[in-house]
């Protein structure tokens, strides 16, 4: 019966997530203050809200599980049980489980029943005596349809014509049928559908035939159609099920029922095996036998010695991560909650804008040259309005970064327990606001950094005591605004990066040549190379060498930078510098020939007009420019983009020193036109990605200008150089 509520479901999930956060936060605090009754009450209320709402939406598994948690919480609240670390741990685990359950419902994805079952058994066992009997009822029991070992029915249903007029939805019927059994082969008969001209959209012209496998009695099946029987036609015929009918376990049935509902609602393609089984050409056992003979690619590769089991395991891990990320992305179409005051202000501003506009058009209809000053005044007013509206609209998307930080207390607590370290987490600057999309995107990189700090950065308690440090290590997370950017620092007081160890490892892995002299920055950049890890042992936490490079890539994809400061024995600080928003960037407009481009300010270090003798060439055509003693490669933008420049002599042109991924290059342009904020427009929406171009924007005169992607430029320049060498 969940369908009527569909429009409210999003709100439910959002609220449930908020309540879950409250529960989790509360439980973490409860560990420190076990006697705090207010806290317990708060946790209880949130758990209760989740239970109530999920029950209302028909998410029985969620409701049942929350109920078990609630029972235990109630015991704690009434003082019949006291809070122990074991109990909070169990409750925290249950919160995680609840989260997975909710995600499962939301994404319509299968949930690992074992974990749910184990936890609910545990919960019930702990609260046994006062609570309900342990483990007897599994949490999914209600949602589980009866096994299909019974009969099957061929159902032919022609709904009454008034079906839609009375607000009834046939889909509802199918969902109900899928609940009591396994719904296979649903065919719709559209033959009565008239021409579009003659069609009444409120009349139902469709009829269906379907096969339902269920143990339910014909009466029960009939009762599904109770509200739609009048005027319609319904025939339910019991049919014999072939002997090979599978007796599958409950879990399987449930999954199948789920996929059945999916097929109805989305009409997704089936696998060949499914189709064969449904058409009766192949029995289910035969299919399963065939499937079990199929080997996984990984196994085959190992057998053929093409890959080691470790490599396969790693690849699988990556795949799982990618899947999880993809799922998270799917779930991320979420809405945003906005303070009504912000909206009210926006409405006021739009009102002002309308007034300004009407004043201008009024002026336009009877304009005389003497009124130029009035015109200019009103244009100035328009400009003020626009800027203010822009700021307000942007502020709607601004969310305090605390939402991204909130996951870390729990993470650090679990990490500390796992690693046997003592860690204190200090958060500051949580109220710093930044764009919601940026907040969403930095969650994972931050998690990596915090994990790294806990795993690699901080030493074991004994080691810390030996080095005259307090036993408890400190990880500090801080966020603050700095010149139009946001800076997030992750700081630990651990052992710091060991320069020699990194270098030795890099040489061993062939990332740098033996004996190469590297600057500190270059050494630090090494740890962000893919596949690089100095951890002696690969743990399930870190040391696989994926991580830092992902952090760097993600941050750079957002137009930000990562920098490292470290003191051996004292600790390491990672600083992420990010733009406040992804929709608007600060850019430098430059000109090459007749073309105008925009270079993101964030990547520009300086601009110089070189002396003729500062430009040197090596091996014939590789150009270098001397910038205060350091030689940087020169990229002539007109060559990369094949346009006609005004100046081909670097001494007459301007060189922009830009930095990308720790690499500095000088980009040669004709002229710098100015600095302005530009709104990023997608090129991919109607075209495709163009190398060297990060996006487009509309310039002041209404034409399109391109935003340069410095990394891409560099790549084009190198390809061209390589091509020139080959020729």
């Amino acid at each position: 019966m969940s369908n009527e509520f569909e429009q409210f479901q999003d709100a439910f999930f959002e609220e449930a997530a908020e309540h879950l956060a409250i529960v989790e936060e509360g439980l973490l605090q409860l560990e420190r203050h076990p006697e705090d009754l207010d806290l317990l009450n708060k946790i209880f209320r949130s758990a209760h809200s989740i239970k109530g709402a999920s029950g209302m939406f028909g998410f029985d598994a969620v409701a049942q599980f929350t109920h078990k948690m609630e029972t235990l919480l109630d015991l704690l609240r009434s003082g019949k049980k006291s809070v122990t670390p074991g109990l909070t741990d169990l409750l925290l685990k249950s919160t995680d489980c609840l989260k997975t359950l909710l995600d499962g419902v939301k994404l319509n994805a299968p949930v690992d029943d074992n974990v749910v079952q184990r936890l609910s058994t545990e919960l019930a066992a702990v609260s046994a005596g006062e609570g309900e009997r342990a483990s007897a009822s599994s949490p999914t029991a209600v949602a589980e349809p009866p096994a299909s070992s019974g009969g099957a029915y061929d159902i032919r249903w022609t709904p009454p014509e008034w079906l839609f007029r009375r607000g009834l939805d046939p889909l509802q019927i199918f969902k109900e049928l899928a609940r009591i059994g396994r719904l296979g082969r649903v065919n719709v008969d559209t033959s009565r559908l008239p021409d579009l001209n003659n069609m009444n959209p409120e009349t139902c012209y469709l009829s269906w035939t379907m096969r339902l496998e269920t143990a339910a009695s014909p009466k029960e099946v009939e009762s599904v159609f109770e509200f739609v029987r009048e005027d319609g036609e319904l025939s339910i015929e019991a049919v014999a099920v072939p002997d090979s009918a599978p007796t599958v376990s409950g879990a399987d049935v449930q999954r199948e029922a789920k996929s059945a509902t999916l097929e109805i609602s989305e009409g997704g393609p089936k696998s060949i095996g499914e189709i064969l089984v449904e058409s009766g050409a192949v029995s289910k056992e035969a299919l399963e036998r065939a499937l079990s003979q199929q080997k996984r690619v990984g196994e085959i590769l190992i057998e053929q010695k093409a890959a080691t089991p470790q490599q396969i395991e790693q690849a699988l891990q990556t795949q799982r991560q990618m899947e999880a990320a993809a799922q998270a992305k799917k779930a991320d179409t979420a809405s945003i909650r906005v303070d009504t005051a912000k909206i009210d202000k926006l409405i006021n501003l739009v009102g002002e804008l309308v007034i300004t506009q009407s004043m201008l058009s009024d002026l336009g209809t009877r304009f005389e040259m003497g009124q130029v000053h009035v015109l200019l005044e009103r244009i100035a007013q328009l400009e003020r309005n626009t800027r203010e509206i822009q700021e307000r609209v942007m502020s709607i998307r601004m969310v305090p970064i605390g939402t991204a930080f909130s996951r870390f207390p729990r993470l650090v607590r679990d990490l500390a327990a796992k690693l046997g370290k003592k860690i204190q987490l200090v958060l500051s600057g949580e109220e710093t606001e930044l764009d919601k999309t940026v907040i969403e995107a930095i969650g994972d990189p931050l998690t990596h950094l915090v994990r790294n700090a806990a795993d690699h950065g901080l030493e074991m308690p004994e080691e810390r005591l030996d080095n005259n440090k307090p036993e408890t290590g400190v990880i500090k997370l801080n966020a603050f605004h700095e010149s139009g950017n946001i800076c997030i620092t992750v700081e630990d007081d651990g052992r710091g990066l060991n320069r020699d160890k990194i270098l030795a490892k890099a040489v061993k892995q062939g990332l740098v040549a033996d004996g190469a002299a590297l600057s500190d920055d270059q050494i630090h950049a090494l740890i962000m190379k893919p596949g690089f890890s100095t951890a002696e042992q690969v743990s399930d936490l870190s040391g696989r060498g994926v991580g830092m490079d992902v952090v760097k890539r993600n941050i750079e994809a957002l137009g930000g930078t990562v920098s490292i400061k470290t003191v051996l024995g004292k600790g390491t600080t990672f600083t992420l510098k990010l733009p406040l928003t992804l929709a608007i960037i600060e850019g430098m407009t430059i000109r090459v020939g007749r073309e105008t481009y925009i270079v993101p300010m964030l990547s520009i270090l300086e601009s110089i007009q070189p002396k003729p003798e500062a430009v040197k060439t090596i091996v014939g055509n590789g150009e270098l420019i001397d910038v205060r003693g350091i030689y940087l490669p020169v990229i002539r933008l007109y060559e990369v983009f094949n346009v006609q420049p005004e100046y081909e002599d670097p001494a007459k042109a301007i060189l922009l020193v830009v930095e990308t991924e720790g690499e500095r290059v000088a980009v040669m342009v004709d002229e710098i036109l100015g600095q302005q904020q530009v709104v990023i427009k997608s090129m991919e929406q109607n075209f495709r990605k163009v190398q060297g171009i990060a996006g487009a924007t509309i310039l002041g005169d209404g034409t399109v200008g391109f935003i340069l992607d410095v990394r891409g430029l560099l790549e084009i320049a190198r390809q061209e150089a390589a091509a020139a060498d080959a020729a």
Binding site: F641, K681, F687, G692, G702, G705
Partner: protein, 166 residues
């Protein structure tokens, strides 16, 4: 530009009459025809979003010559294809008649630069025939067929294939 406005109205009307996108196909197709030199081309009118006077185009670096560049169409970036280049004809200077036909291909919006728009024609199925084969001498891969309208020959554009090439 008066001619353009009149045609816009015609385009809009035909959209309205045909109701759903697939509706028009039963009794033949309505085509928006345009000219490249002396040749007449037609594009399925249901694919046409609007007709626009020529505006300055921003060149995209390192793209095939047929992609003339992009324009700002009320805030979205729309790529512009020079049809003359696609068909290997010499390009000509922009005239007052030069227009951009904005079409929708696989949910992407693109603009076609043509010498001038001429008319909206309804052409029966039986007046259409598959594109003739010229061998390698003439590339007709971007055409879905040719049609006869009175004494005029209309080459029917397959814009799906057109964008796939670009």
């Amino acid at each position: 530009m008066a001619a353009v406005t009149a045609l816009e109205t015609a385009v809009k009307q035909s959209h309205r009459q045909s109701g759903v996108p697939s509706g028009g196909a039963a009794d033949g197709s309505q085509l928006l025809t345009f000219k490249l030199g002396d040749e007449l081309y037609g594009v399925d009118i249901l694919r046409v979003q609007e007709i626009k006077g020529y505006t300055a185009v921003t060149r995209i670096p390192n793209t095939p010559p047929a992609i003339k560049g992009v324009i700002n169409l009320r805030g979205t970036i729309v790529p512009i294809v020079e049809l003359r280049t696609v068909f290997g004809m010499p390009t000509i200077d922009v005239t007052p008649f030069t227009v951009i036909i904005v079409v929708v291909v696989r949910e992407k919006v693109m603009g076609l630069v043509v010498d001038s728009v001429s008319d909206v024609l309804t052409i029966d199925r039986q007046d259409m025939q598959p594109p003739p084969a010229f061998g390698s001498r003439v590339d007709v891969s971007c055409l879905s067929g040719i049609a006869k309208s009175g004494d005029k020959l209309v080459a029917l554009l397959d814009i799906d294939r057109l964008l796939a090439d670009g």
